[in-house]
């Protein structure tokens, strides 16, 4: 059920973010269902493939989306368990996303273009630095919850944990938020709106894709954003014992809040200089290590 | 089985005399003949020593030893000398007089050593031990102090004779396999060394091993 929700509702996050940014800019913003319309439009188109590319380029979006779909199946909605859950699925989650990224990078290099190579290089750079932060934050939460599957960890952070280890959980949440911004190519790491030289990371890697491939990529990006936000939102869900619909509603509300937060960050900050981004990611890593230390007491 | 102190002493004396001859001779042909004589003498030793082996075995060993050391080796070396057409003098680093003095000194030293080893061997064999050791030392001395490659082969043969004598003295009788192995080893070594000396001489037009130091690093 969680999986189905993620599949259906993830593009909505993109529209919430767009609406928030429009609010800050004094505009009305696109309609809420716009991402669905975009996807439908793209799915209806044909495709043009570059002569330079090989089967890797054609396989890239497929592998990327398949990996993100499997990763989304591992993520719970607060205390509602995920479709698939087993001890150690944290690692599988992280590495499935790494696989998606690898496929995208190879597809970008396949086009033989300088822009896309640049995007590929930076994408691998930032995600290599973000990986430890994610893992440490999850390890800190593991220690608190006493379990080591995503469902177990995120579902078992109870009220007392908040009382005794509140700061640690907040620091882990902060680290997770920064990782979310980095992995999903949001400001201050990347600007998702433009496709030009200014934003040579994620958007530029997908320049040559079109039609259904681009639809897969966009949808995969939305799903990836959902999964990261779900990690965050699950920390703030209503406590155990409440009814299922309260849980679901609380979770969805937290997801909306997370989207709004991303939109706010995107509106008030500018993109960081690329050489400063490692500092930001190192800061995230430090936050998660502090969170881990905080759970030791 | 030929029990005779006199014969044994005569053989030892011959051995020592051939050593001194080798140290003193100035011509390579003469040295080769001295080594032939030494080979014959040393080949006789199993017959004199006796020990527990049957007669036919001892006789065979004697014949083979005398044949190889006394006849084959000297023949090979003479042929080498003829082919290579080298100047026939010995040309040592250490003068003949001093060599002989050192040879006598070696004999004295080996007497001292064998006296130290006294409790290990029977009194009769003490002579043989010191003779063997002396021959060994003379052989080494020949290698060290002679210039020509043929001299070094001669020195090696004398060394082998010394080792053989020493071994015979300490062990008492010779196990067949060991003796044949030692013989084979010496044969191969001399064979190879002759070929090497031939090639050295052909390549460099001389057999002066001393001049080979140009090849060092």
């Amino acid at each position: 059920m969680t999986w189905a929700a993620s599949l259906l509702l993830s593009p909505l996050m993109l529209s919430i973010i767009a609406r928030t940014k429009a609010f800050f800019a004094g505009r009305r913003g696109p309609p809420m269902l716009q991402p669905y319309r975009d996807l439908a439009k793209l799915l209806g188109k044909g495709a043009v493939y570059s002569r330079t590319t090989t089967w890797i380029f054609r396989a890239g979006p497929l592998v990327g989306l398949a990996a993100v779909l499997c990763a989304a199946a591992l993520v719970p909605m607060g205390r509602i368990p995920a479709a698939l859950s087993f001890p150690g699925d944290l690692v599988v989650f992280a590495y499935l996303l790494a696989l998606a990224r690898f496929a995208a990078v190879l597809a970008a290099l396949d086009t033989g273009s300088a822009f896309e190579g640049m995007g590929a290089s930076r994408e691998t750079f930032f995600s290599a630095l973000a990986e430890p932060a994610l893992l440490f934050a999850l390890a800190a939460l593991c220690r608190l919850a006493g379990d080591w599957s995503l469902t177990g960890v995120l579902g078992n952070i109870s009220g007392e944990d908040w009382l005794t280890h509140g700061p640690a959980i907040l620091m882990a949440a902060g680290a997770l938020f920064i990782v979310l911004l980095a992995e999903n190519s949001r400001i201050p790491v990347d600007d998702p709106d433009t496709h030009l030289e200014l934003t040579m990371i994620h958007e530029v890697m997908v320049l040559d894709h079109g039609g259904p491939d681009l639809a897969f990529i966009l949808y995969g990006a939305a799903l990836k954003l959902w999964t990261f936000a779900a990690l965050l939102a699950s920390l703030f869900t209503p406590p155990e014992g409440t009814a299922l619909w309260v849980q679901a509603a609380g979770f969805l509300g937290c997801m909306a809040a997370a989207s709004i937060a991303v939109g706010v960050v995107e509106s008030v900050m500018a993109r960081l200089r690329l050489s400063r981004v490692p500092m930001l990611l190192a800061g995230a890593c430090a936050l998660s290590m502090l969170a881990l230390a905080g759970t030791l007491r | 089985m030929i029990e005779s102190h006199a014969l044994a002493d005569a053989v030892m004396a011959l051995l020592l005399i051939t050593n001194l001859l080798l140290l003193g001779f100035g011509y390579l042909n003469a040295c080769v003949r001295a080594v032939a004589l030494q080979g014959l003498v040393v080949g006789l030793l199993p017959l004199i020593m006796g020990g527990g082996s049957p007669l036919w075995r001892v006789a065979a060993l004697t014949a083979v030893g005398m044949g190889i050391k006394g006849v084959v080796f000297p023949r090979m070396l003479s042929k080498l000398l003829r082919d290579v057409e080298v100047r026939r003098e010995v040309e040592p680093f250490v003068g003949h007089g001093l060599s002989i003095a050192l040879g006598v000194g070696a004999m004295g030293f080996s007497l001292w050593v064998s006296s130290k080893l006294g409790p290990l061997v029977a009194a009769r064999n003490a002579w043989m031990i010191s003779a063997g050791l002396a021959t060994l030392l003379v052989g080494l001395f020949l290698i060290v102090s002679r210039r020509k490659a043929v001299s070094q082969v001669l020195g090696y043969i004398v060394l082998e004779n010394g080792v053989y004598t020493f071994g015979l003295a300490t062990v008492g009788h010779v196990p067949l396999l060991v003796e044949l192995g030692v013989l084979m080893d010496a044969f191969v070594a001399v064979f190879i060394m002759s070929i090497a000396a031939y090639h050295i001489s052909r390549e460099f037009n001389h057999m002066d091993v001393d001049l080979l130091d140009k090849l060092r690093d």
Partner: protein, 667 residues
């Protein structure tokens, strides 16, 4: 079973000798040498697998004339497990070699090269199964020498000779440490047999630390731990590619085997051993992958990745030791299990990658990444296999690299969740953080390597003329790629069958090993389910897309690239460009040098830029130390006069001195 194993050893020896004797006819030498290796492997693998699965141990003991020596072989689970990649990879490399060495097909050197290859295989098999110190050392030395001769196959080139020299020196320094270790142990116990050696923790006379450090230095040099790895990036690139595959995939594991065997003999270690190994592993892993990122020679890049993966193995072993010393069974079993499985996995994908690099070198004549490109179209099979290897080494699901890293992560996370206390937690966290960083950097590096070599447009005429390798070269690569995929898709059975090996390596009884293995088995089955789901997902999406695109216009055109009208191949991202963010961030470690000859003037003609990264440790530490030692020893040159007589005189004087000393002392 032992009979099979001995038969395989015999076949290898005969094949090698046959190849040497057939030097006059290179084709026959090829067949004999490769055939000996292949048949030997086929004979030996069943024995190895049987032993690794925990079958009754087989052993044989023959007398040997050397003092203290005994021809004592035994196949227990640990030996059998290490023999599996040895035989499998060597056999495939031999098949590959028949195609790769085509340029030597008229040379008489081929017989000698096959002899060395078969002897290398033989000595590795002996090392893995020896139970006597002297036999082990003899086989170890044989391994070093035969691989040295193989590295110097193209000895006409100066850099090959230099690489061989570095390799020989490093190898012998390591062997010296092992020799010292064995001698001390034999001295303490009176025999060179492994079974007679006590645990070093019980030897009163010398501290156990000494033994552990000697083992670490000696075996670590062969394995390639940092900082003893400096020979690896020199020797592995210069060797012929099938030899590089065997050296990188299997021979360095002999070092790991030696260390694990010693640790298994000595029993429960003090905690700091595990910590040291963990730190060495982290350093090797992180520094190895960083240096790999900065390289643009394909084989040197792969060599540095071997250092990194040995680091991962050391992390696993270190975790296992820490778990043993603190009594955390889960950490111990998962640490050892992950580390040992990574031995097998690395052998598979590293040899695959080296064989692929060899195919590229064979086809284009260059190893420089900045001159390659677009080879996927020209070498489809090689390219596909290389991609599989690249994904596997980056630790991505559903391939085998992920399975071993997953086990290590599980150890860390399980300990975080439910572990006993701080020390194991710290170890687990260090491992998790290190593995995360290493994994990300490795993925970056292999995206670079595989992308720049195979994708895009060719960057030079070398690459434009690339052609697919013959089947004798592509078939082994495909087999290795399939085995990587197989372990990735069926992790559960593979890991469960390692229970005996883990029990042997860690010293824990089999029953205690099986409990954590069962827990891990549940996760692994789910992991397999996820992997299969991934594959199914890709297939379904492909089907969806082709259904969507059917009947629609699917066109081909030049790369759009946001409207750039005239791209040229030279404008593509190059290897140094791809790695530039990394080399800049980590410049304090890498010291990448930049030579810039920029465009000048108002109408600039052209410019040049070149980056190079040396081996920092070698430049700052090893080279100065060895040069100083050389200079000091050079003072003793005067002994070497060049005259035979003088040398014999040295001998005589020594003998006389000994004679006087020994006899003079007695009454």
């Amino acid at each position: 079973m032992m009979a099979l194993f001995l038969a395989s050893l015999g076949v290898m020896l005969l094949g090698g000798l046959g190849a040497l004797l057939a030097s006059e006819r290179p084709k026959l030498a090829n067949i004999l040498g490769a055939g000996g290796a292949f048949i030997g492997a086929v004979l030996g693998l069943p024995a190895a697998v049987f032993a690794a699965l925990g079958g009754p141990p087989a052993s044989i003991q023959l007398d040997w004339a050397l003092p203290g020596a005994c021809f004592d072989l035994a196949l227990d689970p640990l030996s059998g497990f290490f023999l599996i990649p040895t035989l499998f990879v060597s056999a495939l490399a031999a098949v590959y070699g028949t195609g790769y060495l085509e340029s030597y097909r008229h040379s008489k050197r081929l017989g000698w090269m096959w002899l060395c290859f078969d002897l290398l295989m033989l000595s590795m098999a002996l090392v893995m199964s020896a139970r006597n110190g002297v036999l082990f050392l003899a086989a170890w030395e044989g391994m070093a020498l035969s691989s040295f001769f193989l590295v110097c196959s193209d000895h006409e080139a100066e850099n090959v000779r230099q690489a061989g020299w570095v390799y020989l020196v490093a190898s012998h320094l390591g062997t010296a440490c092992i020799l010292a270790l064995f001698t001390l142990l034999a001295g303490a116990s009176g025999s060179f047999d492994f079974s007679a050696w006590p645990s070093v923790l019980h030897i009163r006379a010398l501290p156990p630390a000494l033994f552990f450090l000697l083992a670490l230095l000696g075996f670590g040099t062969k394995a390639g731990f940092w900082p003893l790895h400096v020979w690896l990036p020199e020797a592995h690139p210069e060797a012929p590619s099938h030899v590089s595959a065997v050296m990188s995939g299997v021979m360095i594991k002999a070092g790991v085997y030696g260390l694990v065997r010693m640790l298994a003999l000595w029993g429960a270690p003090p905690a700091w051993w595990g910590w040291l190994l963990l730190c060495v592993g982290l350093a090797s892993g992180i520094l190895g992958v960083l240096f790999a990122l900065a390289q643009h020679d394909l084989k040197k890049l792969l060599a540095y990745h071997s250092v990194e993966n040995i680091g991962i193995i050391a992390i696993g072993l270190g975790l296992g030791l820490v778990g043993l010393s603190h009594g955390s069974m889960l950490l111990a079993v998962l640490g050892f299990g992950g580390g040992l499985l990574h031995v097998l996995n690395h052998a598979l994908f590293k040899s695959l990658l080296f064989l692929g690099a060899g195919a590229v070198l064979h086809a284009t004549g260059t190893r420089d990444l900045d001159e390659l490109g677009g080879l996927m179209k020209r070498m489809p099979w090689t390219g596909a296999a290389f991609m599989v290897g690249a994904a596997a080494i980056s630790g991505l699901p559903p391939f085998n690299g992920f399975v071993s890293e997953f086990l290590l992560y599980c150890g860390g996370f399980a300990d975080a969740a439910a572990g006993p206390g701080l020390p194991t937690l710290a170890a687990g966290m260090a491992a998790i953080g290190g593995l995360g960083l290493i994994g990300g950097l490795a993925a970056a590096c292999f995206a670079k390597a595989s992308g720049i070599v195979f994708l895009g447009e060719p960057r030079s005429p070398h690459a434009t003329h690339g052609h697919e390798a013959p089947w004798s070269m592509t078939l082994p690569m495909v087999v290795l790629a399939l085995s990587c995929i197989a372990i990735g898709l069926f992790p559960g059975p593979v890991v469960r069958s390692m229970a005996a090996v883990v029990s042997c390596a860690s010293g824990l009884p089999l029953g205690e090993v099986l409990i954590p293995m069962e827990h891990a088995g549940v996760s692994l089955n789910m992991l397999a389910a996820a992997a299969w789901a991934l594959v199914a997902g890709v297939v379904l999406l492909a089907g969806l897309r082709s259904w969507l695109l059917s009947g629609r216009l699917v066109d081909a055109g030049p790369t759009w690239d946001c409207g750039y009208a005239h791209p040229t191949p030279r404008m593509q991202y190059s290897a140094s460009s791809f790695a530039q963010p990394f080399t800049e961030l980590f410049s304090g470690v890498l010291f990448t040098r930049l030579r810039l000859d920029g465009p000048k003037g108002y109408f600039p003609a052209g410019g040049r830029l070149a980056t190079s990264t040396g081996e920092v440790l070698r430049d700052t530490f090893f080279d100065p130390v060895f040069s100083w030692t050389g200079r000091q020893l050079g003072r003793m040159r005067f002994i070497q006069v060049g005259r035979v007589q003088v040398y014999v005189l040295y001998l005589v004087l020594t003998l006389l001195a000994l004679l006087i000393w020994l006899t003079g002392g007695k009454p």
